[in-house]
Amino acid sequence: MVFLEYIPGDSFFHKLDIRSKLLWFITINVLAFLFWDPFYVGIVLLSVVLAGIIAQVPYQRFGMLMNGLLIPMVFVVGYEALAYPGQNTLFYLIPKLWSFGPYGRVTLEGLLVGLTFLFRLLIMVFSSSIFTLTTPLDHFLGFLQKIRAPYQLGFMIAVAVRFIPTLQREAWAIIDAQKARGAEMEASRGFLTTIKMYVPIFLPMIINGIRRSDTLAMAMITRGFGARKWKPLKSIKITKIDLLFMPICLAILFAGIYLWSLGYGKIVFWGG
């Protein structure tokens, strides 16, 4: 599971307060969207990869993400290369044949914009992964409390996360039980048959879920839920490294915005 998975560690990023990491995340992503020149955006991407190394994110993790993103990446670059109204034609996908064509004009500008979009995609995915992989759930809950979100929200998230492994285990047990009754799960024979095939798995899961929620609700009220006003205990603290890190982030952010306002980082041969 990628979402909300935390890898325990002791890196610089693990030590940062969640608010510092949030500021870093915003800075990175604002810069990535301000500039259009793939060279500028590439530098931002490089900094994110460096951050990933500092945060000790296992490189397989990036590999996994890249695998999943391969198709959208090819699509983004291809689409921009063809659709962007650039001036410098590189080649045509389908050359002129007598009176037919030419079709599929690929421009230099299009290719560069495509590259920018690709980099932005990677920046978003990598930076959010670094953020969540180095931040335990407790810090998220503490943050919710700091911004005065209703405490039930944090509690709800925590309870949901608690039951993810239980649900996974249950799903496997159900699949095994149905396979033992001769169900062939691997065979795919059209959309409707596939849906029919999964009914014997989803139905027990839903029903067990309802049973579970009854016990859970009873367990909560027999432990006093709703009796009095209560406050979650999670607290987060700004430390020295945050006091150092946050101004650096802000400085980079404003420097970036200033450069952008001066006109840096646009695609030079812009035109229609």
């Binding site: 159900i174 095994d176 396979k179 001769g182 062939e184 027990p204 049973r211 432990r223």
Partner: protein, 583 residues
Amino acid sequence: MMESDIIVIENLSYIYPKREKPAIKNINLSIKKGEFVTIMGPTGAGKTTLCYAMVGLAPQFFEEGKMEGNVFVKGMSTREYAVQEICTVAGLVFQDFENQIFGITVEDDVSYGPIFLGFDHDEIQRRVKKALSSVRLDGYEKRTVYTLSGGETQRLAIADVLAMEPEIIILDEPTSQLDPVGKEEVFQTLEYLRKNTNTTIVLVEHKSEEVAKFSDRILVMNNGEIVLDGPPRKIFERVDELLSIGVRPPQVCELFSILRKKGLKFDTFPITLEEAIDVLSKKLIQRKTLEDIQNAPVKEPSKNTSSEEPIIEVKGLWHTYPGGIDALKGVSFNVNRGEFLAIIGPNGSGKSTLLKHFNGLLKPTKGDVFVDGVNTKDTTTGKLAKKVGLVFQNPDYQLFAKSVKEEIEYGLKNIKLPKDEIDVRIKEAIEFTGLKGYEEKHPLLLKKDERQRVAFASIIAMTPEIIVVDEPTTGQDFKGSELMMQMLTKLNRMGKTIIVVTHDIRLVARYADRIIILFKGEIVADGPTRHIFSKYYETLQNIYLSPPQITQLARMLTQYGIRQDVLKVDEMAEEIIKLMGVQ
């Protein structure tokens, strides 16, 4: 109402929403402060409902349920005080122990109660620490809850309630889902609470041998009413009455009940192993010295009656899970056609891993498994399903259809049988499992033991030659367990090969021909049941699989001339009558 009565129930009846029959009725009960009360009774007797009523969940949690009479918890009426107030006096540990845990880490989970009650940080910390040390989970604070074993999870559930610092703890079948190690852990925790605190304990439990040791008082429920109420000795004396209700008394009580009927007289009626040893050793004459016994040769097992034709061959089976855990380390054995084999061992010994190899749900990492001559590597689970029927422990992991009939049909359709054949098989399976009249009922509206039978019917309808059952009796009451084992015996007599994986050593002793003991992924012992229980007596005890009470009793009395390989109560009775006859 007496000052010392902490729970007082007057004329209580309760009907769940959308039901007509009351779940409990005419309950009158007072429980004294500090008392240890055990509630026994068959499934559906109303035990859980009574627990809910004692903390106010019934009537408060279920909308439109009907309650008559009154329940007072330390003087608070459950009609007037909210569950959230009552819970500071009476805590409830639910039967479904996993789903009552809602924290991510152990510490989170225990602290929620005190947090909900609005205590300050220091008080919360104090309570968490105290509760965890009472259940011996100190040092587990940061562990995520899903990494805990069954016993640890159940102890955590108890700690959750202890952190509320209640005066009464109610536990609804805290050991029924656990393995022997887990059961032992929970009983030790209860023993600790009984000795070191003044907590009133109300326990719902089937394990009569443990109950006899530390209950002050036993309530027996049947059909929603309390039918017996008294100290353990008075209750367990009524062996025949208990058995007809569906409550199993300790084996020593069954024994002495038989002996009494045969006209033998004893001064007291023993209810524990120690008492039975004491009573019998006074009556019997010592015939052998301890040395004779230790030097006596162990008889080698005679060949069993099943054929010598292997139907399952397991050869050097290793199974390594992703992550490098070796669940099975070179296991080899044959299962012969027509055998009744029990595979036993503590949790984590590799039992479940082994059983999933029989129908190809798992494939060997090394080695081979042959089913009726076919290597499981060369076939699919779907194809093996016709030969090997695997019944899992929890029926709720497989029931999904709209009717019992359709549920049974599912597997038959999967193996592509013709329509008329399917109808015949459904009819046979329904008759065999005693589900006649249930054909059109919705499986999910049935009781748990009936759901278990539907799951079982759905497997045997596929007429597999080998029937593998994972924990056939967990969570079932005495009658349910007996029924399940009788069905398996009947199938065995029809020539089917039966393999059960279980913790229930008493059932193993009564029904299995052969035992394989698995420990840490290896076979420690393999042989005929009687042989295993006498030769591996200590081994079994060391891995918390204590032989049945009656076998233990025989073992302790061998110096008086009693055979040490006794497995059943009636065998023991015969032995004693024989010896006392020649006196």
